[in-house]
């Protein structure tokens, strides 16, 4: 094939990919831009991405008119507790599945992975009843409780641990190192990148979680960020648009920062999630 034709083909495909890049990024740029505009400016010059009269008034307004500090603390608490528990439970389960054979191990592993295929509508009514029965409705701990373990985490960590040579662990076993020592000094250092990126994804997913919290949380003061944001959506465009953009910014800020710092880990681990 002539080199010239190849070059043209590359350019055309680059253009196609750039369209996808624009679609991916435009909403974020749009939110940043309009969150710094006044109400009238945002309506009159919506197409102008750099605000003519930048203002932080929207951010001041949302922090004074909403219990936003409390909502951020709620979101942070849910995400942190969920992440820590999921990491510990997945790590222990993955360790058992990777390094030992016991009665029912294959069946249990299948069962755990199969839970990924259970739609949330199947569990929502009974879980709502459980949380209501133990008095955790309208409480962030009611949001947290059913989510203390994670099948995807078990799967990804098992995949990672299975790449560790068994002989490495057998040698230390012969040297008399106990299970806790092997876990802490051999397996953990080798799986640290996976643990970090899986932990970050747990945190981000929990930070963004919407469906289950909407069933459990009722009062604004107990809300997490996605729930408070939802109050500012109107398909008719009736509410204050720059204010809504400012709350969007607050909601995406932490995930964006985490992604910027840890993107290498995250991309590596999640690229592998479809390869068995």
């Amino acid at each position: 094939m002539p080199e010239n034709k190849m070059e043209w083909r590359r350019i055309i495909w680059h253009l196609v990919l750039i369209v996808f890049v624009l679609v991916a990024l435009f909403p974020i740029v749009f939110a940043v831009s309009n969150s710094f505009k006044g109400l009238s400016e945002s309506y009159n010059s919506i197409l102008q991405l750099i605000p003519a009269h930048p203002t932080i008034e929207n951010y001041k307004t949302i922090f004074t008119s909403l219990p936003l500090y409390q909502i951020i603390i709620n979101t942070f608490t849910v995400a942190t507790v969920v992440t820590l528990f999921k990491l510990v439970t997945s790590y222990l389960a993955a360790y058992a599945f990777s390094f030992s054979h016991f009665f029912g191990d294959k069946l249990l592993y299948f069962l755990f992975i199969a839970t990924i295929f259970v739609p949330f509508t199947v569990t929502m009514i009974p879980n709502y009843l459980i949380i209501s029965r133990i008095g955790l409705l309208n409480n962030i701990y009611g949001v947290i409780l059913p989510q203390l373990c994670d099948a995807t985490g078990i799967f990804l960590l098992t995949q990672t641990m299975r790449t560790i040579p068994k002989s490495l662990i057998e040698v230390s076993r012969l040297d008399g190192v106990k299970t806790v020592g092997i876990l802490r000094d051999i397996v953990f250092p080798l799986t640290r990148p996976a643990v970090i990126s899986i932990g970050i994804m747990f945190f981000i997913n929990s930070w963004n979680e919407y469906v289950w919290p909407t069933l459990i949380l009722k009062d604004r003061a107990n809300f997490t960020l996605p729930l408070i944001l939802q109050m500012f959506i109107s398909s008719e465009g009736g509410t204050n648009f720059p204010i809504a953009m400012a709350i969007s910014m607050v909601t995406m800020f932490i995930p964006l920062v985490l992604y910027l710092f840890f993107q290498k880990y995250i991309l590596n681990t999640f690229s592998q999630s479809g390869i068995k």
Binding site: L17, F20, F117, P146, C149, T214, L225, L229, Q230, L256
Partner: protein, 295 residues
């Protein structure tokens, strides 16, 4: 050989996950199937056994067929945008463009980490048919945007697009990893033989990365239908007249808006059946690594 010396340690390590799964997933699953045979309203102290009545009334309701049709349309759109398109682009990026791979990966993955409520909100404003930026640009060339949120058919497309904004990048990096496992010599040889790109894609790349491809295909259906809950609830609440509802959203609405617990549970049970079929397909084709070429 077992590396953990004592068996009880293995069970101890499995226990926390097992307890949580049993209490908040397996038992609820069984209880939902049980609820699907009862007449109940989520609040009343008495539940009445009605046999298959909930399933019958579900199937007698014309709304169900509308919702099944919507679910099917959602699946088709999601598969085209989030499975076929990223597959093709992953192939192109790996074997045609080659340069800029890292940067494209980083940027296209970015929306996956942002809340779908944020995505829904941003697109509601961006696609606002009167004052949104797209509407203003189209107005300049004399085209009025339709009010998509109240137009049957179109509303499905837009809600799928909003969901795709989040899902696309994740699928893209997974497929890219799958495609890049294909030995580049095979593709180079095909190129030297002047085999057109579309044939390389359909006849070499698809079969040789089929395990990843089928995994993404199945996950696009299973997670896509659940992800779409968010834009539905945030933007249309299933309207106009159920035109944007799907099986997942309808089950939610039956339970927590209309308090028809039995019918909601019946619909959830059907969804579970559908997903179980997909689970077996996944185990049949992915876990055993379909790999037609060579082996």
């Amino acid at each position: 050989m077992s590396v953990i010396s004592k068996k009880w340690i293995s069970y101890l390590f499995i226990l926390p996950s097992l307890v949580i799964f049993a209490v908040f997933l397996i038992w609820p699953g069984i209880y939902t199937v049980y609820l699907s045979f009862l007449d109940w309203n989520l609040i009343s102290p008495t539940k009445r056994f009605v046999g298959l009545q909930n399933y019958l009334s579900l199937f007698q309701d014309p709304t169900l067929y509308k919702i099944l049709m919507n679910t099917f349309v959602y699946i088709v759109i999601l598969l085209v945008i989030n499975c076929f398109m990223p597959y093709l682009l992953a192939f192109v990026l790996e074997f045609v463009i080659v340069r800029g791979k890292k940067l494209y990966k980083k940027i296209l993955f970015l929306p996956s980490i942002i809340s779908l409520v944020v995505g829904s909100m941003l697109y509601v404003w961006i696609l606002n048919p009167v004052s949104g930026p797209i509407a203003i640009i189209f107005k300049k060339i004399g085209i009025d945007l339709p009010t998509w949120s109240s137009t049957s058919g179109l509303v499905l497309v837009v809600l799928s697009l909003i969901t795709s904004w989040k899902v696309f990048g994740y699928n893209f990096i997974v497929l890219l990893a799958g495609v890049s496992n294909i030995p580049s010599g095979v593709i180079e040889a095909a190129k030297l033989d002047n085999i057109p790109l579309h044939r390389i894609f359909f006849q070499i790349v698809l079969p040789m990365s089929s395990a990843t491809g089928i995994y993404v295909l199945i996950m696009t259906i299973v997670q896509g239908l659940q992800y779409i809950f968010t834009p539905i609830n945030v933007v249309t609440q299933g309207g106009p007249n159920y035109a944007s509802s799907n099986m997942i959203y309808h089950a939610y609405q039956q339970a927590f808006v209309l308090y028809k617990t039995g019918q909601s549970a019946a619909l959830s049970t059907l969804t579970l059946l559908l997903f179980t079929i997909l689970l077996f397909l996944e185990f049949r084709f992915v876990e055993r690594k379909v790999y037609y070429a060579g082996k």
